[in-house]
């Protein structure tokens, strides 16, 4: 404080100006946060208002969609589809992504690592329809069948860069002293990595995986020509399958009010699922860090 007073040779005006500037900048920050937050809140409110009536319709969670003219119907097919497609996609992407992330952090300070990093960054920037085309070309055209599996593979490729970068970031943040402590005990590098470094970074890895899953669950474009959609409740991953994002996409474009309502409700459900995943990630990280 004494230091500041020395600077304030001009009398009382400087602290006053400083206070004003402080207030001004503080106000600007609040304004910016509001500008960013208000559209999100309005959107959430909009989805809530439009989606809630459909969600409260009996059978929404328990029935498959019925065709026009048959009363009732729900999105059971899409709920199961989204969970299964994203689930299988995660089973494929999380281990591979985590392993690549471990490689990048622990062994990737070289040309190979940089190449992998570059490719991963390019993948992050690709429009998601490209992953759909990948799934279609690689799986659907070769198996001659639309399938949930092809969608899972497309989503897995989409999730991969997110997971591997999250894993790498989490591992890099683990203090080097921990690695040295392990190595100084005479533990081989792979054991130190798997038994000490990965557990230390588990929070970050799990968060990255969950965020990737949340992103994948919201994708429509990669599913259009892979999962294809299915109004029948389908659990066989070799068969075409519905998904919440597909329900939204298709039902938003039809003239039937009940189906449009179903699209809103599916949207609300998807938002809720993604929010729940994010909250879950936070709770998990908090528990791990204690």
């Amino acid at each position: 404080m004494a230091f500041h007073r020395v600077g304030a040779g001009g009398g009382m005006s400087l602290p006053l100006i400083r206070t004003l500037v402080d207030r001004l900048v503080g106000g600007l920050i609040v304004l910016c946060v509001s500008v960013a937050a208000i559209p999100v809140l309005v959107l959430l409110l909009f989805v809530l208002i439009n989606g809630l009536p459909g969600m409260l319709t009996p059978g929404f969670f328990t029935d498959p969609p019925y065709p026009q003219g048959v009363p009732g119907g729900g999105v059971l097919n899409a709920i199961i589809g989204t969970l299964e497609i994203v689930g299988i996609g995660s089973l494929l992407a999380v281990p591979v992504g985590a392993l690549i992330g471990i490689f990048l952090s622990e062994y990737g300070r070289n040309q190979v690592g940089n190449t992998v990093r570059f490719i991963s960054d390019v993948f992050t920037g690709l429009p998601s329809i490209a992953f759909g085309i990948f799934g279609y070309t690689v799986v659907v055209l070769t198996t001659h069948h639309f399938s949930a599996l092809s969608a899972s593979i497309a989503l897995a490729v989409l999730m991969l860069p997110v997971i591997l970068r999250a894993t790498e970031t989490a591992l890099v943040l683990v203090p080097n002293s921990l690695r040295e402590a392990g190595l100084a005990l005479g533990a081989p590098r792979w054991r130190v990595t798997l038994e000490i470094i990965v557990p230390a970074a588990l929070g970050g890895i799990v968060t990255g995986a969950l965020l990737a899953m949340a992103r994948a669950a919201g994708e429509t474009a990669p599913l259009l020509f892979t999962a294809f959609g299915n109004d029948i409740v389908q659990t066989n991953p070799w068969q075409p399958m519905g998904a919440l994002s597909l329900t939204i996409f298709r039902n938003a474009l039809v003239p039937y009010p009940n189906l449009q309502q179903q699209a809103w409700a599916a949207g609300l459900l998807l938002v809720a699922l993604v929010a729940a995943t994010n909250i879950l990630a936070r709770i998990y990280v908090r528990r791990i860090q204690r």
């Binding site: 300070r109 002293s177 402590a181 190595l183 005479g186 533990a187």
Partner: protein
């Protein structure tokens, strides 16, 4: 340039060289480089078996650098290089054929800061013997002994399976030294 001067170290051999003393580790004419920068100049040191040898010097003079050469921890820092000889029981640990993992099992190291692993108290203490492949009974025994030796046993014996990190961060944690000792007891 000032930093350079302060980092340059010459370690003289202990003045009294007991002819009967068993020399466990003998560092001879060690030069050490961080890239182009030479941190150690012709450093030599003989460490006797079953004796405590202290290395004293001003901050930044290269004590830790020197010590880290003994179990090749400097390998982990890219761009470093050591020359000269460090004989452990007559074998030069700096030679390329040294089994670094085995070396580190023989030359333990205690760091300035505590580095608790993200594991339970028990697993932290047991990690060294676990690496060495000791049996469960042996490990149980050494964990208890180590914690008793450092006076922590009574405090932690009921929560051995809980996270060590929380314990160390909590205000009830014993001094940093005792936390450190809780793991140092297992070092060979």
């Amino acid at each position: 340039m000032i930093a350079t001067a302060s980092m340059q170290t010459k370690v003289a051999p202990p003045p009294l060289r007991d002819v009967d003393a068993e020399i466990k580790l003998d560092a001879r004419h060690v030069d050490f480089f961080y890239g182009d920068f030479q941190a150690l100049h012709d450093a030599s040191l003989a460490v006797q078996a079953r004796k405590i040898t202290a290395l004293i010097g001003p901050s930044g003079c290269g004590k830790t650098t020197f010590l880290r050469v003994f179990n090749r921890m400097h390998d982990l820092v890219p761009g470093t290089r050591a020359s000269g000889e460090v004989l452990l029981d007559g074998h030069n640990v700096l030679s390329p054929d040294t089994d670094v993992i085995n070396l580190r099992r023989q030359v333990g190291m205690l760091f300035q800061r505590a580095n608790p692993f993200p594991k339970s108290i028990y697993d932290n203490v047991a990690y060294g013997p676990h690496i060495l492949g000791w049996s469960k009974i042996q490990i149980d025994q050494v964990v208890e002994e180590s914690l008793k030796d450092t006076g922590l046993w009574d405090e932690v014996k009921d929560r051995l399976r809980r996270s060590a990190r929380r314990w160390i961060r909590s205000p009830r944690c014993a001094s940093r030294n005792s936390c450190k000792n809780s793991r140092s007891g297992i070092r060979s």
